[in-house]
Point group: C2
Chain length 213, copies 2
């Protein structure tokens, strides 16, 4: 018999920084250490429902992109006995999150690239989620999950660069996203100061992550 947990890597992007939601553990093991939001799965709850519920309880956000990531089951990953973690990752657009309370020492959105020491194998889970997300940029429209109602292609490019951790060539990027599913030109323009106006786009089906053919 085995303990069954789910842990959720909740990503958002703020100030061109990919951030992960962490909660401080109050109990043993790893009391005081930062960890992913998660917990034991009740016997009568489906895995997806449990992950969705935990996401909602910690962030107040529902209906965002959530995908099962991987099951971590090394026999000694939990010092209390065998616990398998079915991990998930979720993508939350920044404007759906309540203003960050940066001084909160129980709940924090930390840069994915500069995490503190985490409980259990949660660092491995975050790293796998980051790799999965970065890989999916290449063959899907998953980045749209981070976009607001209207956005410019420069803003979209910034999301890609933030996840990949490297600058992209503007012209190649525009070629690449031209055929992205679920995106359309609004016909409107964004003007900021003396900059050239930029076309505004919107997501047509925000519930859909589609593979690029």
């Amino acid at each position: 018999m085995t303990g069954l947990a789910t842990d959720v890597v909740v990503f958002t992007i703020r100030d061109q920084c990919l951030r992960v939601l962490l909660v401080r553990r109050s109990g043993e093991p790893f009391a005081g250490r930062w960890a992913l939001p998660g917990g034991m799965v009740p016997a009568d709850e489906a895995l997806d429902d449990c992950a969705n519920r935990m996401l909602g309880e910690k962030t107040g956000v529902r209906g965002v992109y959530l995908e099962q990531l991987y099951s971590f089951g090394a026999p000694r990953r939990d010092p209390r006995g065998r616990v398998v973690s079915v991990s998930y990752y979720a993508l939350v657009p920044p404007e759906r999150i309540a203003p960050f309370a940066d001084g909160d020492d129980q709940l924090a959105w930390m840069p994915a690239g500069a995490l503190p020491e985490l409980a259990f194998d949660h660092r491995d889970i975050v790293e796998l989620a980051h790799r999965r997300l970065a890989a999916k940029l290449d063959y899907s429209n998953i980045a749209l999950q981070f976009m607001g109602e209207r956005f410019t292609l420069s803003e979209l490019q910034s999301v890609y660069e933030t996840i990949l951790g490297e600058p992209l060539d503007k012209r190649n990027f525009r070629k690449r996203v031209r055929n992205l599913p679920c995106i359309e030109d609004t016909g409107e323009w964004f003007r900021a100061g003396k900059h050239r106006p930029a076309r505004l786009f919107r997501v047509t089906r925000s519930d859909r992550v589609e593979i690029i053919k």
Copy 2:
């Protein structure tokens, strides 16, 4: 507390048919029904090790491509109580499998597209594995896992078509595989009867499944 199982979808291709290894269940529940090879995970065994071991025990094959697929955890998927199945899929080149004993009524390689009624939610597991495999053809060199030591591009195309269940245009296919990682021209030719000779290729790194950039 929860029961923890792994189940493995073992694919091979024979006679242009994608086949899945099934075993007949001897005990309840679902006695007599066909099922995926799998079983409960011992408390001290890692998930990957367990899946690898089960694959080896049923097929005699080791060292082939094996990837964690998904964890199935609907509360009532097993009538005995909650059992979460961490499912895997494996790809076995046909020449590594012992000759099929088609009359065996305990172990059989059945066409993925024409499965009998399976135990538990194993049909869902097979269907998800098939979708994952088909999707990966688009953005990785995973099909090479089915190839023998030397092969022609027509044979490789046939593998794609078998997995996708549809014919592909020859010219587009050749364009697409030209940049496939881990494949090289042997400089040799295959001649069969009056057909035009065909170039023979080989896989350079059979342990690597790589994303196509």
